[in-house]
Symmetry: C2
Subunit: 236 residues, 2 copies
Protein backbone atom coordinates (compact mmCIF):
# COMPACT_ATOMS: atom_id res chain seq x y z
CA UNK A 1 0.00 0.00 0.00
CA UNK A 2 1.11 3.51 -0.77
CA UNK A 3 2.18 5.45 2.33
CA UNK A 4 0.26 8.47 0.98
CA UNK A 5 -3.05 6.58 1.31
CA UNK A 6 -2.70 6.55 5.07
CA UNK A 7 -4.30 9.07 7.37
CA UNK A 8 -1.50 11.18 8.91
CA UNK A 9 -2.20 9.85 12.42
CA UNK A 10 -1.92 6.29 11.14
CA UNK A 11 1.71 6.42 10.13
CA UNK A 12 3.75 5.05 13.02
CA UNK A 13 0.81 3.54 14.90
CA UNK A 14 1.40 -0.18 15.29
CA UNK A 15 -1.05 -2.49 13.56
CA UNK A 16 -1.98 -5.66 15.40
CA UNK A 17 -2.00 -8.64 13.05
CA UNK A 18 -4.11 -11.59 14.09
CA UNK A 19 -3.64 -14.93 12.38
CA UNK A 20 -6.54 -17.38 12.29
CA UNK A 21 -4.39 -20.41 11.72
CA UNK A 22 -7.16 -22.97 11.20
CA UNK A 23 -10.66 -21.49 11.30
CA UNK A 24 -13.71 -23.65 11.52
CA UNK A 25 -14.70 -24.14 7.89
CA UNK A 26 -11.76 -25.28 5.70
CA UNK A 27 -10.46 -28.85 5.55
CA UNK A 28 -7.29 -30.59 4.38
CA UNK A 29 -9.21 -31.29 1.17
CA UNK A 30 -9.42 -27.54 0.54
CA UNK A 31 -5.77 -27.01 1.36
CA UNK A 32 -3.36 -29.74 2.49
CA UNK A 33 -1.31 -27.09 4.34
CA UNK A 34 -4.21 -26.39 6.75
CA UNK A 35 -3.00 -27.10 10.29
CA UNK A 36 -5.52 -29.35 12.05
CA UNK A 37 -3.55 -31.35 14.61
CA UNK A 38 -2.27 -29.52 17.66
CA UNK A 39 1.34 -30.12 16.52
CA UNK A 40 0.60 -28.62 13.12
CA UNK A 41 -1.18 -25.67 14.74
CA UNK A 42 1.78 -24.92 16.98
CA UNK A 43 4.21 -24.91 14.07
CA UNK A 44 1.84 -22.86 11.94
CA UNK A 45 1.51 -20.32 14.76
CA UNK A 46 5.29 -20.24 15.14
CA UNK A 47 5.62 -19.32 11.47
CA UNK A 48 2.85 -16.71 11.75
CA UNK A 49 4.51 -15.06 14.73
CA UNK A 50 7.84 -14.97 12.91
CA UNK A 51 5.99 -13.28 10.02
CA UNK A 52 4.62 -10.59 12.36
CA UNK A 53 1.43 -11.91 13.94
CA UNK A 54 0.72 -10.79 17.53
CA UNK A 55 -2.52 -12.69 18.10
CA UNK A 56 -3.20 -16.34 17.30
CA UNK A 57 -6.93 -16.95 16.82
CA UNK A 58 -7.41 -20.64 17.42
CA UNK A 59 -10.01 -23.31 16.75
CA UNK A 60 -9.33 -26.97 17.49
CA UNK A 61 -10.37 -30.04 15.52
CA UNK A 62 -11.23 -33.57 16.50
CA UNK A 63 -9.36 -36.65 15.20
CA UNK A 64 -11.51 -36.58 12.06
CA UNK A 65 -10.58 -32.94 11.42
CA UNK A 66 -14.01 -31.58 12.35
CA UNK A 67 -14.35 -28.39 14.44
CA UNK A 68 -14.82 -29.13 18.14
CA UNK A 69 -14.61 -27.34 21.49
CA UNK A 70 -12.64 -29.98 23.41
CA UNK A 71 -10.95 -28.19 26.34
CA UNK A 72 -8.16 -30.81 26.42
CA UNK A 73 -7.13 -29.95 22.88
CA UNK A 74 -7.22 -26.25 23.69
CA UNK A 75 -5.01 -26.95 26.76
CA UNK A 76 -2.42 -28.80 24.66
CA UNK A 77 -2.45 -26.03 22.08
CA UNK A 78 -2.05 -23.31 24.70
CA UNK A 79 0.89 -25.14 26.31
CA UNK A 80 2.59 -25.46 22.94
CA UNK A 81 1.99 -21.82 22.05
CA UNK A 82 3.43 -20.66 25.37
CA UNK A 83 6.60 -22.69 24.68
CA UNK A 84 7.08 -22.10 20.95
CA UNK A 85 5.70 -18.56 20.69
CA UNK A 86 6.46 -16.87 24.00
CA UNK A 87 4.64 -13.55 24.33
CA UNK A 88 2.06 -14.23 21.65
CA UNK A 89 -1.53 -13.35 22.52
CA UNK A 90 -3.57 -16.54 22.61
CA UNK A 91 -7.20 -16.09 21.51
CA UNK A 92 -9.62 -19.03 21.61
CA UNK A 93 -12.74 -19.14 19.50
CA UNK A 94 -16.09 -19.52 21.26
CA UNK A 95 -17.84 -19.43 17.88
CA UNK A 96 -20.90 -21.46 17.11
CA UNK A 97 -19.41 -23.63 14.40
CA UNK A 98 -17.43 -25.63 16.94
CA UNK A 99 -20.12 -26.51 19.45
CA UNK A 100 -23.48 -25.51 20.86
CA UNK A 101 -24.56 -23.70 24.01
CA UNK A 102 -22.19 -23.52 26.98
CA UNK A 103 -19.89 -26.12 25.38
CA UNK A 104 -18.66 -23.19 23.28
CA UNK A 105 -17.06 -21.73 26.42
CA UNK A 106 -15.80 -24.94 28.01
CA UNK A 107 -12.17 -23.95 27.43
CA UNK A 108 -12.40 -20.55 29.14
CA UNK A 109 -11.15 -21.86 32.52
CA UNK A 110 -7.79 -22.28 30.72
CA UNK A 111 -7.53 -18.48 30.92
CA UNK A 112 -6.37 -17.67 27.39
CA UNK A 113 -5.45 -14.00 26.94
CA UNK A 114 -8.47 -13.42 24.72
CA UNK A 115 -11.51 -15.23 23.40
CA UNK A 116 -13.91 -14.40 20.61
CA UNK A 117 -17.42 -13.37 21.67
CA UNK A 118 -20.59 -12.92 19.65
CA UNK A 119 -23.02 -10.26 20.92
CA UNK A 120 -25.84 -10.83 18.45
CA UNK A 121 -27.24 -13.29 15.95
CA UNK A 122 -27.22 -13.25 12.16
CA UNK A 123 -27.48 -15.49 9.16
CA UNK A 124 -24.66 -17.64 7.82
CA UNK A 125 -24.60 -19.14 4.31
CA UNK A 126 -26.98 -22.00 5.11
CA UNK A 127 -28.22 -21.44 8.65
CA UNK A 128 -28.77 -19.05 11.53
CA UNK A 129 -25.73 -18.19 13.64
CA UNK A 130 -27.51 -18.47 16.98
CA UNK A 131 -26.25 -16.46 19.92
CA UNK A 132 -29.16 -16.16 22.34
CA UNK A 133 -28.88 -13.26 24.82
CA UNK A 134 -28.60 -15.67 27.74
CA UNK A 135 -25.62 -17.48 26.21
CA UNK A 136 -23.90 -14.17 25.46
CA UNK A 137 -24.41 -13.11 29.08
CA UNK A 138 -22.93 -16.40 30.29
CA UNK A 139 -19.90 -16.29 28.00
CA UNK A 140 -19.20 -12.66 28.96
CA UNK A 141 -19.50 -13.57 32.67
CA UNK A 142 -17.08 -16.50 32.24
CA UNK A 143 -14.61 -14.16 30.53
CA UNK A 144 -14.87 -11.73 33.44
CA UNK A 145 -14.38 -14.57 35.93
CA UNK A 146 -11.23 -15.79 34.15
CA UNK A 147 -9.98 -12.31 33.19
CA UNK A 148 -10.13 -12.93 29.46
CA UNK A 149 -10.40 -9.99 27.06
CA UNK A 150 -13.16 -10.62 24.53
CA UNK A 151 -12.71 -9.95 20.85
CA UNK A 152 -16.26 -9.12 19.86
CA UNK A 153 -17.08 -10.52 16.42
CA UNK A 154 -19.43 -7.97 14.83
CA UNK A 155 -21.29 -9.38 11.84
CA UNK A 156 -23.59 -6.37 11.59
CA UNK A 157 -23.87 -2.76 12.71
CA UNK A 158 -26.05 -3.43 15.75
CA UNK A 159 -23.42 -5.85 17.05
CA UNK A 160 -20.94 -2.96 17.22
CA UNK A 161 -23.41 -0.85 19.19
CA UNK A 162 -24.23 -3.80 21.47
CA UNK A 163 -20.51 -4.31 22.11
CA UNK A 164 -20.04 -0.67 23.07
CA UNK A 165 -23.12 -0.76 25.33
CA UNK A 166 -22.01 -3.99 27.01
CA UNK A 167 -18.52 -2.63 27.57
CA UNK A 168 -19.94 0.56 29.10
CA UNK A 169 -22.13 -1.57 31.37
CA UNK A 170 -19.06 -3.44 32.66
CA UNK A 171 -20.02 -6.66 30.92
CA UNK A 172 -16.81 -7.13 28.96
CA UNK A 173 -13.47 -7.67 30.70
CA UNK A 174 -10.59 -5.35 29.82
CA UNK A 175 -10.28 -2.92 26.97
CA UNK A 176 -12.95 -2.98 24.27
CA UNK A 177 -11.81 -4.85 21.17
CA UNK A 178 -14.24 -5.29 18.28
CA UNK A 179 -13.70 -7.05 15.00
CA UNK A 180 -15.77 -6.06 11.98
CA UNK A 181 -16.48 -9.22 9.99
CA UNK A 182 -17.43 -8.83 6.34
CA UNK A 183 -17.89 -11.20 3.45
CA UNK A 184 -19.91 -14.02 5.01
CA UNK A 185 -22.79 -14.90 2.68
CA UNK A 186 -26.18 -13.78 4.06
CA UNK A 187 -24.50 -11.52 6.63
CA UNK A 188 -22.65 -8.24 5.92
CA UNK A 189 -20.88 -8.15 2.55
CA UNK A 190 -17.47 -6.57 1.94
CA UNK A 191 -18.67 -3.00 1.44
CA UNK A 192 -16.50 0.11 1.55
CA UNK A 193 -19.28 2.50 2.58
CA UNK A 194 -20.36 0.21 5.42
CA UNK A 195 -16.74 -0.21 6.51
CA UNK A 196 -16.31 3.57 6.69
CA UNK A 197 -19.54 3.84 8.69
CA UNK A 198 -18.33 1.17 11.13
CA UNK A 199 -15.02 2.97 11.66
CA UNK A 200 -16.65 6.39 12.05
CA UNK A 201 -19.29 5.23 14.56
CA UNK A 202 -16.86 3.09 16.54
CA UNK A 203 -14.19 5.79 16.82
CA UNK A 204 -16.77 8.43 17.81
CA UNK A 205 -18.41 6.28 20.48
CA UNK A 206 -15.56 4.16 21.78
CA UNK A 207 -12.44 6.32 21.40
CA UNK A 208 -10.62 4.24 24.04
CA UNK A 209 -11.39 0.97 22.29
CA UNK A 210 -9.69 -0.78 19.40
CA UNK A 211 -11.19 -2.19 16.26
CA UNK A 212 -9.95 -4.70 13.75
CA UNK A 213 -11.49 -5.97 10.55
CA UNK A 214 -11.60 -9.27 8.73
CA UNK A 215 -12.78 -10.13 5.24
CA UNK A 216 -13.89 -13.73 4.99
CA UNK A 217 -13.10 -15.50 1.74
CA UNK A 218 -12.41 -13.57 -1.44
CA UNK A 219 -12.50 -10.17 0.29
CA UNK A 220 -9.74 -10.94 2.78
CA UNK A 221 -6.94 -8.85 1.27
CA UNK A 222 -9.31 -6.01 0.43
CA UNK A 223 -10.43 -5.68 4.04
CA UNK A 224 -6.85 -6.10 5.28
CA UNK A 225 -5.81 -3.10 3.17
CA UNK A 226 -8.80 -0.99 4.24
CA UNK A 227 -8.16 -1.73 7.91
CA UNK A 228 -4.45 -0.99 7.79
CA UNK A 229 -4.94 2.25 5.84
CA UNK A 230 -7.66 3.40 8.26
CA UNK A 231 -5.46 2.86 11.30
CA UNK A 232 -7.15 -0.27 12.60
CA UNK A 233 -6.01 -3.80 13.21
CA UNK A 234 -6.66 -6.80 11.03
CA UNK A 235 -6.93 -10.56 10.77
CA UNK A 236 -5.62 -12.92 8.15
CA UNK B 1 -43.24 19.09 13.37
CA UNK B 2 -41.99 22.36 12.03
CA UNK B 3 -42.33 22.60 8.24
CA UNK B 4 -38.85 24.12 8.13
CA UNK B 5 -37.33 20.85 9.38
CA UNK B 6 -38.37 19.11 6.18
CA UNK B 7 -36.10 18.61 3.23
CA UNK B 8 -37.41 20.76 0.34
CA UNK B 9 -38.27 17.70 -1.75
CA UNK B 10 -40.30 16.25 1.13
CA UNK B 11 -42.98 18.93 1.25
CA UNK B 12 -45.93 17.72 -0.80
CA UNK B 13 -44.75 14.12 -1.08
CA UNK B 14 -47.41 11.84 0.42
CA UNK B 15 -46.41 9.85 3.51
CA UNK B 16 -47.78 6.32 3.77
CA UNK B 17 -49.01 5.61 7.28
CA UNK B 18 -49.15 1.98 8.32
CA UNK B 19 -51.09 0.98 11.40
CA UNK B 20 -50.10 -2.18 13.26
CA UNK B 21 -53.43 -2.64 14.94
CA UNK B 22 -52.53 -5.58 17.17
CA UNK B 23 -48.89 -6.61 16.94
CA UNK B 24 -47.67 -9.85 18.42
CA UNK B 25 -46.51 -8.85 21.88
CA UNK B 26 -49.14 -6.79 23.80
CA UNK B 27 -52.15 -8.29 25.56
CA UNK B 28 -55.48 -7.02 26.88
CA UNK B 29 -53.74 -6.88 30.26
CA UNK B 30 -51.36 -4.26 28.88
CA UNK B 31 -54.16 -2.29 27.27
CA UNK B 32 -57.84 -3.29 27.32
CA UNK B 33 -58.34 -1.39 24.04
CA UNK B 34 -56.05 -3.81 22.16
CA UNK B 35 -58.07 -5.43 19.35
CA UNK B 36 -57.58 -9.22 19.50
CA UNK B 37 -60.75 -10.72 18.04
CA UNK B 38 -61.31 -10.40 14.31
CA UNK B 39 -64.36 -8.18 14.93
CA UNK B 40 -62.31 -5.86 17.14
CA UNK B 41 -59.50 -5.80 14.57
CA UNK B 42 -61.87 -4.81 11.78
CA UNK B 43 -63.33 -1.93 13.80
CA UNK B 44 -59.87 -0.83 14.93
CA UNK B 45 -58.70 -0.84 11.31
CA UNK B 46 -61.76 1.13 10.28
CA UNK B 47 -60.88 3.81 12.82
CA UNK B 48 -57.22 3.79 11.72
CA UNK B 49 -58.17 4.24 8.08
CA UNK B 50 -60.47 7.12 8.97
CA UNK B 51 -57.53 8.66 10.84
CA UNK B 52 -55.35 8.42 7.72
CA UNK B 53 -53.77 4.96 7.64
CA UNK B 54 -53.21 3.42 4.18
CA UNK B 55 -51.75 0.08 5.26
CA UNK B 56 -53.10 -2.23 7.93
CA UNK B 57 -50.34 -4.47 9.31
CA UNK B 58 -52.15 -7.44 10.81
CA UNK B 59 -51.41 -10.27 13.21
CA UNK B 60 -54.13 -12.63 14.36
CA UNK B 61 -54.66 -14.17 17.80
CA UNK B 62 -56.14 -17.46 18.95
CA UNK B 63 -59.14 -17.71 21.33
CA UNK B 64 -56.80 -17.25 24.30
CA UNK B 65 -55.41 -14.05 22.77
CA UNK B 66 -52.03 -15.59 21.88
CA UNK B 67 -50.34 -14.79 18.53
CA UNK B 68 -51.04 -17.46 15.90
CA UNK B 69 -50.81 -17.91 12.14
CA UNK B 70 -54.23 -19.49 11.55
CA UNK B 71 -55.11 -18.92 7.88
CA UNK B 72 -58.85 -19.08 8.67
CA UNK B 73 -58.56 -16.12 11.02
CA UNK B 74 -56.55 -14.20 8.44
CA UNK B 75 -59.27 -14.99 5.86
CA UNK B 76 -62.03 -13.64 8.11
CA UNK B 77 -59.99 -10.54 8.83
CA UNK B 78 -59.26 -9.91 5.17
CA UNK B 79 -62.94 -10.28 4.25
CA UNK B 80 -63.92 -7.80 6.93
CA UNK B 81 -61.23 -5.32 5.89
CA UNK B 82 -62.34 -5.48 2.25
CA UNK B 83 -65.90 -4.65 3.32
CA UNK B 84 -65.29 -2.07 6.06
CA UNK B 85 -62.16 -0.43 4.69
CA UNK B 86 -62.39 -0.63 0.91
CA UNK B 87 -59.13 0.31 -0.79
CA UNK B 88 -56.97 -0.18 2.28
CA UNK B 89 -53.72 -2.07 1.72
CA UNK B 90 -53.86 -5.32 3.67
CA UNK B 91 -50.51 -6.50 4.99
CA UNK B 92 -50.21 -9.79 6.86
CA UNK B 93 -47.35 -10.54 9.23
CA UNK B 94 -45.19 -13.57 8.55
CA UNK B 95 -43.14 -12.75 11.64
CA UNK B 96 -41.65 -15.37 13.87
CA UNK B 97 -43.59 -14.55 17.00
CA UNK B 98 -46.78 -16.05 15.56
CA UNK B 99 -45.54 -19.42 14.37
CA UNK B 100 -42.50 -21.39 13.28
CA UNK B 101 -41.18 -22.47 9.89
CA UNK B 102 -43.51 -22.55 6.92
CA UNK B 103 -46.56 -22.11 9.18
CA UNK B 104 -45.53 -18.44 9.20
CA UNK B 105 -46.58 -18.22 5.53
CA UNK B 106 -49.66 -20.42 5.66
CA UNK B 107 -51.96 -17.43 4.98
CA UNK B 108 -50.14 -16.26 1.84
CA UNK B 109 -52.50 -18.15 -0.54
CA UNK B 110 -55.12 -15.59 0.59
CA UNK B 111 -53.24 -13.10 -1.59
CA UNK B 112 -53.09 -10.10 0.75
CA UNK B 113 -51.69 -6.98 -0.93
CA UNK B 114 -48.53 -7.16 1.15
CA UNK B 115 -46.86 -9.35 3.72
CA UNK B 116 -43.97 -8.71 6.04
CA UNK B 117 -40.74 -10.56 5.25
CA UNK B 118 -37.56 -11.01 7.27
CA UNK B 119 -34.34 -11.32 5.26
CA UNK B 120 -31.93 -11.99 8.11
CA UNK B 121 -31.75 -13.08 11.73
CA UNK B 122 -31.08 -11.06 14.86
CA UNK B 123 -31.59 -11.12 18.59
CA UNK B 124 -34.84 -10.23 20.32
CA UNK B 125 -35.11 -9.34 24.03
CA UNK B 126 -34.92 -12.94 25.27
CA UNK B 127 -34.24 -15.11 22.24
CA UNK B 128 -32.97 -15.37 18.68
CA UNK B 129 -35.31 -14.20 15.93
CA UNK B 130 -34.61 -17.11 13.60
CA UNK B 131 -35.02 -16.63 9.88
CA UNK B 132 -32.93 -19.32 8.20
CA UNK B 133 -31.98 -18.58 4.57
CA UNK B 134 -34.07 -21.50 3.33
CA UNK B 135 -37.23 -20.18 5.02
CA UNK B 136 -36.63 -16.69 3.63
CA UNK B 137 -36.26 -18.17 0.14
CA UNK B 138 -39.52 -20.09 0.57
CA UNK B 139 -41.50 -17.11 1.89
CA UNK B 140 -40.21 -14.89 -0.92
CA UNK B 141 -41.14 -17.56 -3.49
CA UNK B 142 -44.65 -17.87 -2.05
CA UNK B 143 -45.04 -14.09 -2.26
CA UNK B 144 -43.97 -14.17 -5.91
CA UNK B 145 -46.40 -17.01 -6.61
CA UNK B 146 -49.32 -15.12 -5.04
CA UNK B 147 -48.19 -11.67 -6.26
CA UNK B 148 -47.76 -10.22 -2.78
CA UNK B 149 -45.47 -7.23 -2.25
CA UNK B 150 -43.15 -7.89 0.67
CA UNK B 151 -42.48 -5.30 3.31
CA UNK B 152 -38.97 -6.24 4.36
CA UNK B 153 -38.48 -5.82 8.10
CA UNK B 154 -34.88 -4.68 8.53
CA UNK B 155 -33.64 -5.08 12.08
CA UNK B 156 -30.03 -4.31 11.14
CA UNK B 157 -27.97 -2.72 8.38
CA UNK B 158 -27.14 -5.95 6.58
CA UNK B 159 -30.86 -6.70 6.28
CA UNK B 160 -31.26 -3.53 4.19
CA UNK B 161 -28.42 -4.58 1.89
CA UNK B 162 -29.82 -8.12 1.65
CA UNK B 163 -33.23 -6.70 0.72
CA UNK B 164 -31.74 -4.59 -2.05
CA UNK B 165 -29.70 -7.54 -3.34
CA UNK B 166 -32.71 -9.87 -3.26
CA UNK B 167 -34.86 -7.33 -5.06
CA UNK B 168 -32.21 -6.87 -7.76
CA UNK B 169 -32.03 -10.64 -8.16
CA UNK B 170 -35.78 -10.77 -8.79
CA UNK B 171 -36.51 -12.49 -5.52
CA UNK B 172 -39.03 -9.97 -4.19
CA UNK B 173 -42.33 -9.35 -5.95
CA UNK B 174 -43.22 -5.78 -6.93
CA UNK B 175 -41.58 -2.56 -5.86
CA UNK B 176 -38.98 -2.70 -3.11
CA UNK B 177 -40.40 -1.66 0.27
CA UNK B 178 -38.17 -1.82 3.34
CA UNK B 179 -39.01 -0.95 6.90
CA UNK B 180 -36.24 0.09 9.29
CA UNK B 181 -37.11 -1.32 12.70
CA UNK B 182 -35.47 0.29 15.72
CA UNK B 183 -35.93 0.00 19.46
CA UNK B 184 -36.15 -3.76 19.97
CA UNK B 185 -33.91 -4.74 22.87
CA UNK B 186 -30.76 -6.65 21.76
CA UNK B 187 -31.30 -5.57 18.13
CA UNK B 188 -30.83 -2.04 16.69
CA UNK B 189 -31.62 0.74 19.16
CA UNK B 190 -33.38 4.00 18.25
CA UNK B 191 -30.32 5.89 17.03
CA UNK B 192 -30.35 9.05 14.93
CA UNK B 193 -26.96 8.51 13.34
CA UNK B 194 -27.85 4.95 12.33
CA UNK B 195 -31.20 6.15 11.00
CA UNK B 196 -29.46 8.73 8.80
CA UNK B 197 -27.06 6.05 7.56
CA UNK B 198 -29.97 3.75 6.70
CA UNK B 199 -31.71 6.50 4.72
CA UNK B 200 -28.55 7.57 2.93
CA UNK B 201 -27.51 4.06 1.89
CA UNK B 202 -31.04 3.02 0.90
CA UNK B 203 -31.72 6.10 -1.20
CA UNK B 204 -28.34 5.84 -2.93
CA UNK B 205 -28.69 2.16 -3.76
CA UNK B 206 -32.41 1.71 -4.26
CA UNK B 207 -33.66 5.07 -5.62
CA UNK B 208 -36.77 3.39 -7.06
CA UNK B 209 -37.68 1.75 -3.76
CA UNK B 210 -39.52 3.07 -0.75
CA UNK B 211 -38.54 2.96 2.89
CA UNK B 212 -40.51 3.33 6.06
CA UNK B 213 -39.41 3.29 9.67
CA UNK B 214 -40.83 2.05 12.93
CA UNK B 215 -39.76 2.63 16.51
CA UNK B 216 -40.81 -0.18 18.77
CA UNK B 217 -41.89 0.82 22.28
CA UNK B 218 -40.80 4.11 23.82
CA UNK B 219 -39.13 5.35 20.62
CA UNK B 220 -42.23 5.11 18.43
CA UNK B 221 -43.05 8.81 18.12
CA UNK B 222 -39.40 9.74 17.77
CA UNK B 223 -38.94 7.45 14.78
CA UNK B 224 -42.30 8.57 13.31
CA UNK B 225 -41.06 12.16 13.36
CA UNK B 226 -37.66 11.28 11.90
CA UNK B 227 -39.24 9.28 9.09
CA UNK B 228 -41.80 11.92 8.14
CA UNK B 229 -39.23 14.72 8.18
CA UNK B 230 -36.83 12.68 6.05
CA UNK B 231 -39.45 11.99 3.41
CA UNK B 232 -40.07 8.34 4.22
CA UNK B 233 -43.09 6.40 5.35
CA UNK B 234 -43.85 5.23 8.83
CA UNK B 235 -45.71 2.80 11.07
CA UNK B 236 -47.63 3.38 14.26
ZN1 LIG C 1 -12.70 -18.18 14.24
ZN1 LIG D 1 8.18 -24.15 16.89
ZN1 LIG E 1 -45.93 -7.15 13.12
ZN1 LIG F 1 -66.60 -0.68 10.36
Amino acid sequence: MDQRDKKPEVAGKPCILCCAITGSVPTKDNNPALPVTVAEQIESSHAAVEAGASIIHAHVRDDAGRPCSDPDRFALLQDGLRRHCPGVIVQFSTGGRSGAGQARGGMLPLRPDMASLAVGSNNFPTRVYENPPELIDWLAAEMRAYEIVPEVEAFDLSHILQAIARHKAGDLFGKLYVQFVMGVKNAMPVDRDVFDTYVRLFEARAPEGNWCAAGVGAGQLTVNEWAIAAGGHTRA
